[in-house]
Amino acid sequence: MKTAAELKEIAQFIAEYATRLMGSGVHTSRVVRNSKRLGEALGVRVIVSAFQKVVTFSVCDDDSGEVYSEVADIPPLPISFELNAELSALSWEAYDRQMPLPEIRARYAEIVARPRLDPIFTLILVGLANASFCRLFGGDWFAVSIVFTATLLGFFLRQRMQARGFNHYVIFIASSFAASMYASVALMFDTTSEVALATSVLYLIPGVPLINGVIDIVEGHVLNGIARLTSALMLIICIAIGLSCTLMIVKNGLL
């Protein structure tokens, strides 16, 4: 038996947990599953319905028949696989060890407070990644090196703009334009410049929402899946717009 206050406390914690997961780019069925598991650990039944921007919960205590509902906004957080892994593990641990709510809450706070990957570390890795991507598509070493620095510039711009809180679409257009523009210097030389241009923007591909969208659709969360795919498609269109701006400027060199 839970008192109404306890029920409310549980519902609020689960709401925070689930919105944090949804915001960090976890596919819907995992969020639902984790929340239910967490609820079971705390001795309540949780019913979740998740949308793109908001999640609604009902927390039921089957012994007393008491129900408490909560609606929570999904914050627009950066994608974090680390939170995905650690918070999923937390739900299992709570379930297996029957942890009490204060302990779960403390662990949750500790996990959420962990630092993200350092931006400069990410920057260098992304540059190297895009450069090796260029190599995979058959670019020669000059194209590879030009893509490397062009990606550094484009991704740096994206990071700075994100830190300033620019609109998502504007960021994607601007950084894909910048990266492809800086990569277009490859056209001056007798090198695989087409490959360089094509790969310079690929670091922007929104892989997580694309694949999450497919998983969501297959697992029955069709609405969410389509919403994710649509937003991913919008971002891809933005990449294409940025790339097109570059191509319009330099297309004479490509024909």
Partner: protein, 165 residues
């Protein structure tokens, strides 16, 4: 040939690590991501070298990556998606996507010239379709093990002690 396969795997691994880093994975996931990406991309390289088309080869490679993430995910307590999404990204058909965009622009520039615009329209359709197919195959192939081995896939982050009930 062996050198080519190895270098293909190596560059795929670097690419996967970098694209993974954007999504902030746990540090312990990096070696597994690199391994999966290298294995998947090298497999696709070999298959395509032996005459298989890009969509089917991608499907095979992504199934391997999916199964691999299922097998290795339990060991480092990471969900499958954390491992296979970055590992799939090096297989994105970037050149086809680029050619689609380029053909779209050229189509717009040659609206008046019906012969040229037909040619570019064909380019758009051909490249766009390949891009779409490959991406779909990648997502579907890697996600397939989640649905096939439902129970195991859902308890990767669970402590091993409690699984054997």
């Amino acid at each position: 040939m062996l050198f080519e396969i190895l270098s293909d795997g190596f560059f795929a691994a670097v690419a996967a690590i970098g694209f993974g880093a954007i999504s902030d994975p746990p540090m312990r996931a990096f070696p597994v991501i690199a391994l999966l990406a290298a294995a998947g991309h090298a497999l696709r390289f070999v298959l395509m070298h032996n005459g298989m088309d890009i969509a089917t080869a991608s499907l095979c490679a992504s199934v391997v990556i999916g199964v691999g993430s299922l097998l290795l995910g339990g060991r480092i307590r990471c969900p499958m998606t954390v491992l296979f999404i970055p590992a799939l990204l090096p297989m994105i058909p970037g050149m086809y996507a680029y050619k689609t965009v380029f053909a779209m622009i050229m189509f717009m520039q040659h609206l008046g010239d019906s012969a040229a615009s037909t040619l570019y329209m064909e380019e758009i359709l051909r490249n766009g379709f390949v891009t779409f197919c490959v991406i779909f195959m990648l997502a579907a192939g890697a996600a397939a093990p989640i649905f096939l081995f439902n129970k195991r896939a859902h308890s990767l982050t669970r402590n091993k002690k409690y699984i054997s009930e």
